[in-house]
């Protein structure tokens, strides 16, 4: 009955974007701000309502009333479950924060920024809600095109142009790879609707299906910034305007992982039913490497936004581990982690935007001791850093604990080590930055990062920095960080997410809902109120170790020169060489990565895992 709401998030976002673009010349800046914010709030409200309705019973909306005849889907559908609708709602929250924060931004450029962000919002909502594979590709490309333009928004500088070009080329190739995978699946099944592809495939796990799955997974992993597909991310984040970084790190890359999870559970869970350990093992390896590489590169940065970008890569590795276990409970953990990480990371990016606004630079070394009187900003930075470390009761902790809990139950108890290392490295880097800028600790020369390149970044605002920090900049950052804590404190939030995931992780039920109008109720997961004490102890220990690492890095005892043979130094040198900023290198590594993923998956399946 209420399904008429289903297409509205996309319609409202894209419609408002069109109106703003048309009225560009006539609309005063503040009217455009208000209209864009109102549209975002409406999209968020509708998405929340969709989430509430779909948690009672998932929604299937057919465009133009083209419902399936005799189990054949001809039309295009939005297949909405609480996870998809929840992601759309979460996107709206971050977009609203970006709009509020950018109140003082880009005074001279009219409403182009609003138009692009709204297109971005509409595309991300559509991407989360759709049930059609080709439709997903189209929203993927729409989202990418808006993101490329937003990334290169400051076209007057060389850095943003290079970042946007690297981003655009790698992600476009990723889209072709996804499209090739979709074409192969269409060739095999004659269907584009995910439910119908899934049903037509049955448990067919022939070479063609493995290749198609490899293409689709690897393509979406480029967006998700999984090693070795991650190179564009740090370049794009280092140069994009701060409010855009919030959306890139907070939700866009996570949607790449969401797409892989969606395709897996809707289409591939039966073909891979007997090859679960092969796929799971491969994804766990990839996730672990991503978490460690991202963490190391994060600690080795002096440009704060680039540092946060590498932290996002590390945390994407952790979320991939949540999916890689191929268990609904772990996927629920990953979903919680997406929300917790998105809020915390958005807050950290906004604080770095405040620093750029107030102190006119974002280089850690140059900022040494210059934030001494910014008490509120300092407190917020450390508070969000605690969330990044996964300290209870932040939502990141809930996600991490749920993933670790499931991993232990399925014989992968070692995975907590990855979470621990990632937390220590990324939060350690954040605390180090905080100690240096706000307390003036450490030396004002670069010794810890071992030769990170200094990147010039022009301030994004023009008004004088003498005034106190504007409330419209500080408030969104504070609200998001507090939200990350509040989500973790909502009673039963883990169980609610687990219930939402049961719809997503039920391939047969998904197919019946879409193709047969049949509703196969799933048993809600059992209520578990408590987390194992070990998770809490580990999370607290990781936070303390992160403080310790930051303190050590800022102390006089941090070695000025490491010996040449130091393996950690050699690793860092090698990693830095790989992140060359050269688009050709990135594409070569991307191609190798796709091939390696496919070969590894086929070999593991052949070996009978």
């Amino acid at each position: 009955m209420n399904t008429i709401l289903a297409p509205l998030p996309v319609v409202i976002a894209l419609g408002t974007a069109a109106i703003l673009a048309a009225l560009n010349k006539f609309l005063p800046r503040r009217a455009a701000d208000a209209l864009a914010a109102m549209a975002t709030i409406t999209v968020g409200g509708i998405s929340l309502q969709l989430m509430r309705l779909s948690s009672i019973q998932p929604i299937v909306y057919w465009f133009g009333g083209w419902t399936p005849r005799a189990g054949m889907a001809l039309g295009i559908t939005f297949t909405i479950d609480p996870i998809g609708a929840g992601l759309a709602a979460f996107t709206s929250v971050l977009v609203l924060a970006a709009f509020v924060f950018s109140w003082h931004y880009f005074d001279s450029v009219g409403t182009h920024f609003h138009v692009l962000i709204l297109v971005f919002l509409g595309a991300m909502c559509g991407f989360s809600l759709t049930g059609d594979l080709f439709n997903m590709f189209v929203f993927f490309e729409l989202m990418s095109a808006a993101a490329f333009a937003l990334c290169g928004y400051k076209v007057e500088e060389a850095g943003p142009l290079q970042g946007a070009l690297n981003f655009a080329v790698t992600n476009t190739i990723a889209a072709f790879v996804v499209l090739s995978g979709i074409a192969l699946l269409y060739g095999r099944t004659g269907a584009l609707n995910m439910a119908q592809i899934g049903r037509a495939l049955g448990d067919d796990s022939s070479a063609l299906v493995v290749v198609a799955f490899t293409f689709i997974t690897a393509g979406f992993f480029v967006k998700a910034a999984i090693v070795p597909f991650h190179f564009w991310l740090a370049d794009a984040h280092a140069v994009a305007p701060t409010p855009v970084c919030v959306l890139f790190s907070g939700i866009m890359v996570e949607l790449g992982l969401y797409a892989v999870a969606r395709v897996y559970w809707a289409i591939m869970d039966r073909p891979f039913a007997t090859h679960g350990p092969a796929l799971s093992g491969l994804l766990l390896t990839v996730g672990t490497i991503t978490a460690i590489v991202g963490g190391l590169m994060c600690f080795g940065q002096r440009h704060i936004k680039r540092l946060l970008a590498y932290s996002t890569i590390s945390h994407m590795g952790l979320m991939t581990i949540g999916f890689a276990l191929l268990k609904p409970d772990a996927l629920a953990g990953a979903a919680l982690y997406v929300v917790g990480h998105g809020l915390v990371k958005a807050s950290l990016f906004l604080v770095s935007g405040i620093l750029l606004h107030r102190l006119r630079t974002i280089d850690e070394i140059e900022l040494h001791g210059r934030g001494r009187d910014l008490w509120g900003t300092a407190a917020l930075w450390v508070f969000a850093g605690l969330g990044l470390a996964g300290l209870p009761p932040f939502a990141t902790f809930l996600g991490e604990a749920a993933i670790e809990d499931t991993a232990t139950k399925h014989g992968q108890g070692w995975l907590w080590v990855v979470f621990f290392l990632s937390a220590v490295l990324t939060a350690g880097a954040v605390f180090r930055v905080g100690g240096r800028i706000f307390a003036g600790w450490g030396r004002d020369e670069d010794v810890e990062t071992g030769g990170a390149q200094k990147i010039e970044e022009e301030p994004e605002t023009t008004d004088v920095a003498e005034h106190p920090i504007p409330a419209v900049m500080f408030a969104p950052a504070a609200v998001l960080a507090v939200l990350a804590l509040a989500v973790g404190l909502i009673p039963g939030v883990r169980h609610a997410v687990q219930t939402g995931v049961t719809y997503m992780a039920d391939g047969a039920g998904y197919q019946a809902r879409v193709l047969d109008h049949a509703w196969l109720p799933v048993a809600p997961p059992p209520l578990e109120h408590v987390f194992p004490l070990s998770s809490i102890i580990r999370a607290v220990a990781a936070t303390i170790c992160a403080f310790g690492l930051a303190g050590f890095a800022l102390s006089p005892w941090w070695p000025r020169r490491q010996p040449r043979w130091n393996p950690l130094k050699l690793t860092m040198l090698g990693l830095r060489k790989l992140h060359s900023g050269h688009v050709g290198d990135y594409v070569a590594l991307l191609t190798l990565g796709v091939a390696a993923f496919g070969v590894a998956l086929s070999v593991l399946i052949k070996l009978g895992f």
Partner: protein, 114 residues
């Protein structure tokens, strides 16, 4: 269906990738990307092709006559639109890069690394 069109799709993919990886000029790179994309056009059309079938238009022939698959053709058209957008954007960025840095060579854009 022969194996030939698929070989062409694979060939276009490989030469496109080679061009992108070794490119010394952003304009050249954008065109290589277009070549790469044509591999998906060929792949899609090959999947929908049937030997001896006509176009999927039934005003002169009775319905039920063998016809090639119109769905993949629609997908390919969408694909072309997407490609046009992306190439336009890339070329615009390349023009800006030339304006502000005086070069189109990816090797000389050294703002970001490490």
């Amino acid at each position: 269906m022969t194996f030939f069109p698929y070989a062409i799709a694979a060939w276009l993919l490989i030469v496109g990738l080679y061009g992108v990886v070794t490119s010394k000029n952003y304009i050249h790179l954008a065109i290589c990307l277009a070549v790469l994309q044509s591999s998906t056009y060929v792949l899609l059309l090959a999947i929908g092709y049937k030997v001896g079938a006509g176009p999927p238009v039934f005003d002169t022939v009775p319905p039920g006559t063998p016809a090639v698959d119109p769905v993949v053709q629609a997908l390919m058209l969408t694909d072309i639109v997407v490609e046009a957008t992306v190439v336009a954007l890339l070329l615009a960025l390349a023009v800006q890069a030339h304006k502000h840095t005086g070069t189109l060579d990816p090797d000389k854009m050294q703002e970001l690394k490490g």
